[in-house]
């Protein structure tokens, strides 16, 4: 039943990816992910300049209950972490696809985004997981 915006791409590990006009990709966690985690109380985002591989843990989101890794959907260099989440981690719960973005990545040359899921495929994944 989770919201899955049609203009984004997704991963099997519940991140979303938005292509921005400047060539970077904005990344966050899906509505399903924030709902499953519950109230977020701490978010650690990567520093600008860090290089990440596709599939590498690059951020941590912690709810009252547990800590979870966030994985880089594509390889690249971190252009920015969302500074707002340092003091307002609950923004991810309130607006997971907007103000609650986690980081922006500048893709590595030739970085493959082939493994990303379309909104329809991500919706199927959620159905398969029983949401």
């Amino acid at each position: 039943m989770s919201k899955v915006p049609a203009d984004l791409e997704y991963t099997k590990t519940h991140e979303w990816v938005r292509a921005l006009a400047d060539g970077t990709f904005e990344i966050g966690i899906t509505n399903h992910a924030q709902h499953s985690l519950g109230d977020l109380v701490f978010v650690e985002v990567p520093e600008a300049g860090r290089t990440v591989k596709a599939g590498e843990p690059c951020a941590v989101v912690e709810s009252v209950k547990a800590a979870s890794d966030v994985y880089a959907p594509i390889a690249g260099e971190v252009a920015a972490g969302n500074p707002r989440l340092v003091s307002e981690p609950e923004t991810v719960n309130a607006d997971p696809y907007g103000a609650g973005w986690l980081m922006r990545l500048r893709p590595a040359p030739g970085a493959a985004a082939a493994a990303l899921l379309s909104p329809a495929d991500y919706q199927k994944l959620l159905h398969a997981e029983g949401d």
Partner: protein, 364 residues
């Protein structure tokens, strides 16, 4: 599929997220864990604790039985209805379980033990009860609700007859009695005032709905855990177990070495530990840096030694992370905690962190 309490269908209807807890399918939260936590600190909330095991002990020699089984002394219970918190120990002083026992009459005590330990507790208690000719009755016919928070007693009293309400509101802290066919006790696990109510399983859903209609929030085990940790209360299996003794678990206050003539199980082991001094202690930690303390994270003591967090969480009341940690007895006030390879600063503090809605630790 785990065991289910009489309230399971209601939890589902109320939209709870269900998780396994010690083999039971229990509600961890209904809407927001932090919201449920604040409801208890500021107003009132109700928890289903029917997975805990109510055991009635009946017989002329029930008091001597409990004086043998418990490290705390039921000899302290002088008036009917009074309750006592204590530990069941093995011969080595290891903690089999922690429990509350109510003194109901000279031939009737009622114990409430943890869900995860109920089977081994029953075996242990029955083995010793036999010697004392005491009957052990598992009260699976009862449900138990914990109604907690500054408004909890007044709201619960509205479910009772006028005379029953007067009796309930006059209950002293840490005591309970039969009122209007319910067993009502002024006990809990949140650091707030409130009642724990034992009632026939068939009545539980109706009573829960009535509490909801009086403005008592449905609360899950998630909020129960953050509330008890803020209140400085141990969780069996996390903070102590059979491999740890009360002196290294923050539970020395529950061990009655006096009177000397009382031969409780584990006494000799505890006397030996006490004469040498326990090498470890359980302390409270307040994280000074940003992050969240969790169970099993390593605690580094400046100078020497290391310890481990036994329970850690984010405290919704303090808006900081807090924990219990087992550390060397000589540990200083400042420690570091290894969180994913980073060393963060934490301060040793005396629990409880929060009581009756008020922060009891200095945040600066």
């Amino acid at each position: 599929m785990g065991r289910k309490t009489p309230l399971f269908e209601l939890h589902r209807e109320l939209g709870a997220r269900i998780v396994d807890f010690s083999g039971w399918d229990m509600p961890v939260q209904y809407s927001s864990q932090i919201g449920e936590h604040h409801a208890v600190r500021r107003a009132a909330g109700v928890f289903d604790v029917s997975h805990m095991c109510v055991i009635d002990l009946k017989g002329a020699r029930v008091r001597p039985l409990l004086q043998r089984l418990l490290a705390n002394d039921v000899g302290k219970l002088l008036s009917a209805g009074k309750a006592l918190y204590g530990c069941l120990l093995n011969e080595a002083g290891g903690i089999i379980d922690d429990l509350i026992v109510y003194f109901l009459s000279d031939s009737w005590f009622r114990a409430v033990v943890n869900a995860g330990t109920r089977d081994k507790d029953l075996v242990w208690i029955r083995r010793h009860a036999h010697e004392f000719g005491v009957e052990v009755l598992e009260r699976t016919d009862l449900a138990m609700l914990a109604v907690q928070g500054p408004e909890a007693r007044a709201k619960t009293a509205k479910l009772l007859s006028a005379a029953g309400a007067d009796t309930a509101l006059a209950l002293e802290r840490f005591s309970g009695r039969e009122i209007d066919a319910l067993f009502v006790a002024r006990t809990g696990y949140t650091g707030e005032d409130g009642f724990e109510v034992m009632l026939p399983a068939s009545e539980a859903t109706r009573v829960w709905r009535e509490l909801n209609s009086l403005g008592v929030a449905s609360c899950g085990l998630g909020a129960r855990d953050t509330l008890r940790l803020e209140a400085g209360m141990n969780l069996y299996g996390n903070d102590m177990d059979e491999s740890t003794h009360p002196f290294e678990s923050g539970l020395a206050w529950t061990v009655a070495m006096e009177p000397r003539g009382r031969p409780f199980i584990g006494r000799e082991a505890l006397a030996a530990i006490r004469s040498q001094g326990s090498p470890r202690k359980l302390v409270g930690l307040l994280l000074e840096d940003r992050g969240v303390l969790r169970g099993h994270q390593k605690v580094l003591i400046p100078g020497d030694g290391a310890g481990e967090i036994t329970s850690g969480t984010f405290s919704p009341t303090l808006e900081r992370s807090i924990a219990f940690a087992r550390v060397p007895a000589a540990a200083a006030d400042k420690v570091q905690v290894d969180i994913r390879g980073k060393l963060l600063n934490a301060r040793v503090v005396q629990p409880p962190f929060v009581r009756l809605g008020k922060a009891l630790v200095q945040l600066q």
